[in-house]
C-alpha cells in the first residue's frame, strides 16, 4: 500500500477566520482505499478541513495533494427538488449513458425502482442514500462525508453504516468521514483521528484495538468525556 502515492497528503495546513486560527499546521495522510474517520468536538475545524479538501474553501498556508474532484456527501441530502432521482444522481456526469449509470447506482443503494420519483417523496434515510449514490456514481478516488448520518434516527443510522461499508468495500475509494459519534467511528473506520484545536491530536488503527470497549474509552477520553465504567 505505502508503495503507491497516498490518496491525500496535507502538509502544514493553515486556515484563519478573522483572528481565529481554525486549522493550525495540520498534517494528514490518507492511503488509497483507506477509511479514515475524523472525530472532534464542534468547532475544532473538522468541517473546515473537509471543505478545504473538497476545494470549497481556500487556505492561508500549507499544501494539499488530493484528487482533483473528490465526491462529497453533506449532512443535508442536498437533492435538487426539481429533478427526478436519476437526474439528481447523474448531476455532473458527462457520460452518454448517464441514465443507465444512475440507475445502477440507485439500485446499489436499494432504490432501483424509483428512477423517476421526486425527492420530496423520500424519507430522510432514503434521501441520504440517493446522495451516496450521487457521490459514488462519479467513481471518486476520494469520498468526503460530512456528518452524513447525523440527522437520521438511530436505527436508520445503523442501516446506513452497513450500506456504506458494503459500498466502500466494492468501490474502494479513500474515505474521510467527519462525525461526533464515537460508535460510528469504530463501526466504520480503518483509522480514527481525533482533532483538537485545528490539528490532529491522536490516531488509532481500529484493527490494532484488541478491545473495542477500551478503544471507545480512550476515544471518549481524547474528546474530554470521562465515563465511570
Amino acid at each position: 500500500m505505502s508503495a503507491l502515492p497516498p490518496a491525500v497528503r496535507v502538509v502544514n495546513l493553515v486556515r484563519r477566520y478573522g483572528g481565529r486560527t481554525v486549522l493550525n499546521d495540520l498534517n494528514l495522510r490518507i492511503e488509497r482505499g483507506e477509511f479514515v474517520v475524523l472525530l472532534g468536538e464542534s468547532g475544532c475545524g473538522k468541517t473546515t478541513l473537509l471543505r478545504a479538501l473538497a476545494g470549497l474553501d481556500h487556505v492561508q498556508g500549507g499544501r494539499i495533494e488530493a484528487p482533483r474532484r473528490p465526491a462529497m456527501v453533506f449532512q443535508e441530502h442536498r437533492l435538487l427538488p426539481w429533478d427526478p432521482l436519476w437526474r439528481n444522481v447523474a448531476l455532473g456526469l458527462q457520460a452518454a449513458d448517464a441514465r443507465a449509470r444512475a440507475e445502477a447506482a440507485l439500485a446499489e443503494v436499494g432504490l432501483g425502482g424509483r428512477l423517476d420519483d421526486w425527492p420530496r417523496n423520500l424519507s430522510g434515510g432514503q434521501a441520504q442514500r440517493v446522495a451516496l449514490a450521487r457521490a459514488l456514481v462519479q467513481k471518486p478516488e476520494l469520498l468526503l462525508l460530512d456528518e452524513p448520518f447525523a440527522a437520521l434516527d438511530a436505527l436508520t443510522r445503523i442501516r446506513m453504516h452497513a450500506l456504506v461499508k458494503q459500498l466502500v468495500a466494492r468501490h474502494r475509494p479513500a474515505v474521510l468521514l467527519v462525525t461526533h459519534d464515537v460508535d460510528e467511528a469504530i463501526a466504520l473506520a480503518d483509522r480514527i483521528l481525533v482533532m483538537r484545536e485545528g490539528a490532529i491530536a491522536a490516531g488509532y488503527f481500529v484493527s490494532d484495538a484488541r478491545d473495542p470497549l477500551a478503544l471507545r474509552q480512550s476515544l471518549l477520553a481524547e474528546l474530554g468525556v470521562t465515563t465511570f465504567a
Binding site: 476545494g55 470549497l56 474532484r69 443535508e76 435538487l80 429533478d83 427526478p84 455532473g92 421526486w118 420530496r120
Partner: protein, 284 residues
C-alpha cells in the same frame, strides 16, 4: 391568532377531548360547490326577469339574454372575432417584449451585484411611476396606434417579471450551488440545472401577476383610441348607446383574464410538478 390558539387549546383539550373531531354538519363538498353558484345564478335570473318585465331601462342595463344574442350576432355577422384577435395579438406582443426585457434584466441583476448597481436603482425609480400615468407621454411619442398599445402592455409586464426573476434567483439555496461545485458543474450547467429551476416558481408568480397587468394596460390603451379591438368595440358602442355591446366587451375582457390565469396555473402545475405546493395529490 396563533397565540390565542395555543393558549386556549390545552384547556379545551383537557375538558372536552371530542372537540378535536371535525363538526358533524360538515357538508358534502359537491353540494358546497353547487351552493356557491346559487347567488350568481339567482342574480342573473332576477336581472333577466326584471329586464323582461320592463323594470330596467334597456339602455342602462340590457337583459342577459340580449347580451348573449348580441354576442352571437356580432360573432357571426360582425367583427367580434376579428377584434378579439387583434386585442389578443396586442397583448401577446406586449407580453413577449415586456416579459423578455423583464426576464433579461432580472436575470442579470439576480446574478451580479455589479449589474444590480448599474440597473436596479433606475428600474425601481421607473417602477415607482404608475405605468398608466405615462399614457399621455406615450401617445405623444408614438401616436395613437399599435406601437403605443404594445408599448404600454410591455411596460406593465416588465416590472412584475423583473422583480420576481431577481427575487427567484436570489432565493436559490446557496447549499445547492455549493453542491453544484462539488459535482463539477460549469457556469452554464450551474445556471441551467440549479439557478433557473430554483428561480422558476418565483418567475411564474411574476408571469401570473404580469398577465393581470397586461390586460389592464390593454383595456386602457384600447379605450383611449383604437380603430379595432375589443376596446374599440366598446367605445364605438358607447357612441350609439349600445349597452349590450358594452356589456359584451366587459364580459370578454373578464373571460380572457380568467382564461389567461387558468393557462398560467396549468403551466405552474406542469412545470412545478416537483414542488410540494403544486403537486397533484398522490401523483409522482
Amino acid at each position: 391568532m396563533g397565540s390565542a390558539l395555543t393558549s386556549t387549546l390545552p384547556a379545551s383539550a383537557a375538558s372536552e377531548p371530542e372537540a378535536v373531531v371535525p363538526p358533524q354538519h360538515a357538508a358534502n363538498p359537491r353540494m358546497v360547490a353547487l351552493l356557491s353558484w346559487l347567488a350568481p345564478v339567482l342574480l342573473l335570473l332576477v336581472w333577466e326577469a326584471a329586464a323582461q318585465l320592463g323594470r330596467i331601462p334597456p339602455h342602462l342595463l340590457p337583459a342577459p339574454s340580449k347580451v348573449a344574442r348580441t354576442a352571437f350576432h356580432l360573432a357571426v355577422h360582425g367583427s367580434l372575432l376579428h377584434d378579439l384577435g387583434i386585442s389578443l395579438l396586442r397583448a401577446a406582443a406586449g407580453f413577449a417584449i415586456g416579459g423578455s426585457i423583464g426576464f433579461a434584466l432580472g436575470t442579470a441583476v439576480g446574478f451580479s451585484r455589479i449589474a444590480e448597481a448599474l440597473i436596479d436603482r433606475s428600474v425601481q425609480m421607473i417602477r415607482a411611476i404608475p405605468f398608466l400615468a405615462l399614457l399621455p407621454l406615450v401617445i405623444v411619442w408614438l401616436g395613437v396606434g399599435e406601437a403605443e398599445k404594445i408599448f404600454l402592455v410591455a411596460l406593465g409586464v416588465t416590472f412584475p417579471i423583473y422583480i420576481n426573476t431577481t427575487l427567484g434567483i436570489r432565493q436559490v439555496d446557496p447549499k445547492l450551488l455549493e453542491l453544484g461545485r462539488v459535482q463539477g458543474l460549469g457556469t452554464a450547467a450551474m445556471i441551467r440545472r440549479i439557478v433557473l429551476p430554483g428561480a422558476l416558481p418565483s418567475v411564474l408568480t411574476g408571469v401570473r401577476y404580469a398577465l393581470a397587468t397586461a390586460w389592464l394596460a390593454l383595456v386602457v390603451a384600447e379605450t383611449i383610441g383604437a380603430d379595432a379591438g375589443i376596446g374599440f368595440l366598446a367605445m364605438d358602442a358607447r357612441e350609439f348607446l349600445r349597452t349590450d355591446v358594452i356589456f359584451l366587451t366587459i364580459l370578454i375582457y373578464a373571460l380572457i383574464g380568467v382564461s389567461a390565469d387558468w393557462v398560467a396555473r396549468r403551466l405552474e402545475r406542469r412545470l412545478l410538478a416537483w414542488h410540494p405546493n403544486f403537486a397533484s395529490p398522490g401523483g409522482r
